[in-house]
């Protein structure tokens, strides 16, 4: 359980204090236990369901539509330069 939590924390790119880890870990455990109830069902032969809504083929034609203005697109960016969204240096 503790490992699962740490893994999820890492994937979500968040940091937890020891106290939060304790509290959220126990809450997460409760949630998983609750969801685990589903395993009591026999779903042998049942296709996994991707969508509960009975809709298919919701498409649009390939027609251009006006984009946002550049200024509007950049408005919420913490930092911009030369028309680009500036982010911490990406190191591979």
């Amino acid at each position: 359980m503790r490992e699962d939590l740490q893994h999820a924390v890492k994937l979500a790119r968040i940091e937890l204090s020891a106290e939060e880890e304790e509290r959220l870990g126990s809450q997460l455990g409760d949630i998983l236990k609750y969801v685990d109830k589903l395993n009591e069902l026999d779903v042998e032969g049942v296709e996994p369901t991707a969508h509960a809504v009975p809709l298919t083929n919701v498409l649009r034609e390939d027609e251009p539509r006006e984009s946002l203005s550049h200024e509007a697109a950049m408005r919420n960016a913490p930092k911009t330069s030369n028309g680009l969204f500036i982010v911490p240096k990406i190191v591979e």
């Binding site: 550049h70 680009l84 969204f85 240096k89």
Partner: protein, 474 residues
């Protein structure tokens, strides 16, 4: 011990559409940064993506050209990961129900035809483009959400050259189908290469190395060739290989390990709740299938078989489909299709290049080139005059026979008339005539030229040669 390489390729190709995959922003290269963007493609909250019908059509068409099946159910999945060029923090892709599956590509390799199986060709979205500066990186989202076709092969390729030839064949097919422009300079084709080696005879695959994000086919060939040698070298020295991702350094010509975290590939795929499945009807599939065209390799083989063209000519007509179509019409019923091909490839193409026109603009009938060839073959005109007739055809659109008639260009094959021309030429040029008598063969060409000139190019050159020899020899 001898080893063999096993190579599989994942090729990403941008589809040629007017708009992006989920929104109406232009799918356009080279625009000012962050101008073809909207709330959908920069991942603002609360937006609803709607799939581009044309992208689905092009995907199905690509699948058909790659001999894939088009299943009646396809769905969208979220591939979750954080990266600055991925604005939604997930990429939309097709995990377990892709739009097309299980096909193959046939291509020329060495002396024969090679077949590589295609596992799937599925649709996903491109990400933004990063530019790296010394202290930070910058992201342009114009490319984010551009429809991207991923073509995944089975591990059927066995060497670097074969991978290279496959990629070129794939590119030709996709260009032919109008599926993608496959412009390498614009980054429209990118490739991940999976390579392993194993002792010959072993069925089990070796540890797989992935080389990511290659953007040139020659780079793939160099990287694959290097990596195969490297892996064999490690095994020969008793070392072991690990499954890893490596980066190709083109300047140095080596691959190097990219240290990646263990959980970096935990993508937590799940069905995208915003996008409904695509269930193409039989009619929809039939409609797409109606636009399937002859593939480049099939066309080449057919042109060679039907018109007895050499491979190089057939390749010209495969590379320039419009010119090839024109050739086929022009060669209809021609006795000597190769001669028609020469006119189309040389004279016609040169004229078209000169005028900037296309075969659609031509004034003369498509059968005219065949007629022109026949006039030469039947010795009605010589090939020199044929050039003039062709130019006139191009200008006025008149039929070759009409031009020959109107301009009095018929070849002079009357021996009495020709003999007179020959005697005149010999009398006027006693020096070269004597040279020939003294055994200088080339002097004959000079005299022949004089006769051709005197006859305004209409003399039958073969007869002139024979006559001159006869007169000078007696």
């Amino acid at each position: 011990m001898t080893y063999e390489a096993v190579i599989g390729l994942e090729t990403h190709v941008q589809l040629r559409t007017r708009t992006k995959m989920w929104c109406g922003c232009a799918n356009e290269y080279g625009a000012e940064a962050n101008t073809n963007v909207c709330p959908v493609c920069i991942g603002l909250p609360g937006v609803l993506p709607v799939p581009n019908a044309e992208a689905l059509r092009k995907t199905a068409l690509a699948g058909m050209l790659l001999n894939c099946d088009v299943p009646s159910y396809a769905k969208w999945d979220r591939k979750n990961y954080f990266y600055p060029d991925n604005p939604k923090n997930y990429q939309l892709t097709q995990l377990d129900f892709p739009s097309t599956i299980e096909g193959f590509v046939e291509f020329e390799f060495g002396e024969g035809i090679e077949r590589v199986r295609i596992n799937r060709a599925h649709l996903e979205e491109d990400v933004g483009k990063s530019t790296h500066f010394s202290d930070y990186s910058g992201v342009d989202f114009n490319r984010a959400g551009v429809p991207l076709l991923e073509i995944v092969t089975e591990p059927d390729l066995t060497d670097a050259d074969m991978a290279y030839d496959y990629l070129n064949a794939l590119k030709a097919i996709l260009e032919y189908g109008g599926v993608s422009d496959c412009n390498m300079e614009k980054g429209q084709v990118r490739c991940d290469v999976n390579i392993s080696v194993r002792p010959i005879g072993q069925t089990e695959l070796g540890e797989k190395v992935e080389i990511k994000n290659m953007n040139s086919f020659s780079g793939v060939r160099r990287a694959a060739s290097y990596e195969i040698e490297r892996q064999i070298g490690v095994l020969r020295e008793g070392g072991t290989l690990v499954q890893e991702t490596r980066r190709w350094d083109d300047a140095v010509g080596i691959t190097e390990s990219m240290r990646t975290k263990e959980d970096a590939h935990d993508y937590r795929y799940f069905p995208d709740p915003d996008l409904m499945p695509h269930t193409p009807s039989e009619e929809w599939i039939a409609e797409v299938r109606a636009s399937v065209m002859e593939l480049p390799l099939a066309r080449k083989q057919r042109l060679m078989a039907d018109y007895q063209l050499p491979a190089s000519d057939a390749e010209v007509f495969v590379g320039d489909a419009a010119l090839g179509d024109y050739f086929e019409v022009a060669a209809k019923g021609a006795k000597n299709p190769k001669a028609v091909a020469n006119w189309v490839m040389n004279n016609l193409q040169a004229k078209l290049t000169e005028t900037g026109g296309s075969t659609a603009d031509l004034k003369f009938e498509s059968s005219a080139i065949g007629e022109l060839v026949r006039l030469v073959e039947d010795s009605k005109i010589n090939s020199r005059i044929a050039q003039d007739v062709f130019s006139e055809m191009f200008e006025s659109g008149k039929a070759p026979a009409v031009i020959v008639e109107e301009k009095g260009l018929s070849q002079v094959s009357d021996s009495a008339e020709l003999e007179a021309f020959c005697n005149e030429a010999i009398e006027a040029n006693p020096g070269p005539a004597q040279d020939f008598r003294n055994g200088k063969e080339t002097a004959l060409n000079f005299l022949k030229g004089q006769v051709m000139k005197a006859s305004c190019g209409k003399a039958n050159p073969q007869m002139v040669g024979e006559l001159l020899k006869k007169i000078l020899g007696s």
